[in-house]
Amino acid sequence: MLLKEKHKLLRLLIIYLSISLLLLIFRTGRIVKVGRALFLYLLAPSPRIVSKLLSETGRIGRSISQLVSAREENKILQERITSLLQEKEKLQETISESKRLKRILNYQEETPYELVSARVVGWTPSLFSSALLIDKGINQGFEKDTPVVAWQEGGNPQDPGVAPMKSERLNGMAVVGRISESGPDMSKVLLITDSNSELAAMVQRSREKGVIAGTGERSLLLKYLSPTADLEIGDLIITSGMGRIFPAGLVIGSVEEVLRGVGGLEKRAWVVPRVNINQLEDVQIIKR
């Protein structure tokens, strides 16, 4: 490489590194915040485009699998089967969606909170954070620290061993996370499974209080329980309302394993979240 080229490259590197460092140093500054909000607004994939893209991907995926399985069938039968299958799929989807919406509606009538539905439009692109992007934001009146819940049916599919036995108990509304940043028509939801997430919780049966923390993996860690805390496998963990973000009584998950804390000074437990985050399509935001 020529010396001139080397200098040019070094200049380029220094310029970009300097901008990166300035962004890092002044990340909480007003100019950077306004710039971030503006770019997020401009670049955020519109919920409609995302939904269309998702349904299109699903359609392509289904078409490919149908093509593979029906390779040896003749053309007329294949067309008939495909159209019938698609119709059946649509019907099944409509039936399950209407059932789910009916249950949410019933729940909404019983619950003291006002719930607003939002569509999941994406997941944050980072190994170091678990967060969702939803299609509601400041324009709809949702700001930082607004609680987000979701309806879960038939137990947690992440844990097939638990699901059949306790599916009844695992049905219902459950905590998903809280809004950590809001744009005009989009918000980032910090999930309870994120390692930066902590919320005040308690054991529903024994009313023992603790803190539930995300681990970045499937399970949550319930900590700071007293060493004599009454805790059993399968106990439901609910929000205690002490953090003032989540109202009391919302289900978080159920105890999977009870642990002794460091030095026996506290009791801990692994908790399986009720909600299966990977399969979330829509969530409910609790309006304050």
């Binding site: 890092l24 140093i25 997020l40 670049l43 995302v50 439009v121 944050t124 390692s195 499937r218």
Partner: protein, 172 residues
């Protein structure tokens, strides 16, 4: 002009695919990191002159949609773009083994750089389980040859002419 449109479309496409679709390919919460693989691809194929800005802008887009330290991904990906681009000539670009090797180390570099940047800026270090620290580079490096091939086809779609001006300048 066509070149800049291609780059802009590619950056937006990578980020959109990462946000919307790649979560469906997650194994134990580890998602394919198309953004990082994109930086490695452009740096490996076109050298540091393109690797640095691509790394910076992809990092910036990632920072916009992710949590944590704003600007950290910009910094890390700019450095990855520079490093991979600088070693570009020593590696056999088309060889899947070198693609796997480079992506594996880029993933490790990204993880540890983020770890130390967070500590330096007084943030709690990322609490990523050990399994994920190991599985993340393995999963991404195994996907690298396939994603490189797809990106190559995507680039070919735009025609060979998009880098003609650069080649002409080099020739002069």
């Amino acid at each position: 002009m066509k070149r800049y449109i291609f780059l802009l479309v590619s950056l937006l496409l990578f980020v959109t695919i990462q946000i919307v679709l790649l979560r469906h390919l997650a194994i134990r919460n580890v998602t394919p990191d198309l953004i990082l693989i994109g930086v490695v691809y452009f740096s490996l194929k076109h050298g540091p002159t393109l690797g640095i800005p691509i790394g910076f802008f992809l990092g910036l887009l990632q920072d916009l949609f992710a949590f944590g330290l704003f600007g950290a991904n910009c910094l890390i990906k700019t450095l990855i773009g520079f490093s991979v681009g600088t070693f570009q000539k020593r590696l056999v670009r088309g060889n899947p083994m070198s693609q796997i090797f480079v992506v594996f180390f880029a993933c490790l570099c990204q993880y540890w750089s983020m770890y130390w940047i967070k500590i330096f800026f007084g943030q709690p270090p990322p609490q990523v389980p050990f399994f994920i620290v190991i599985f993340y580079p393995v999963y991404n490096s195994l996907l690298a040859p396939l994603l490189f091939w797809i990106m190559e086809q995507w680039e070919k779609l735009w025609g060979e002419g998009i880098y003609a001006s650069e080649r002409n300048r080099s020739a002069i």
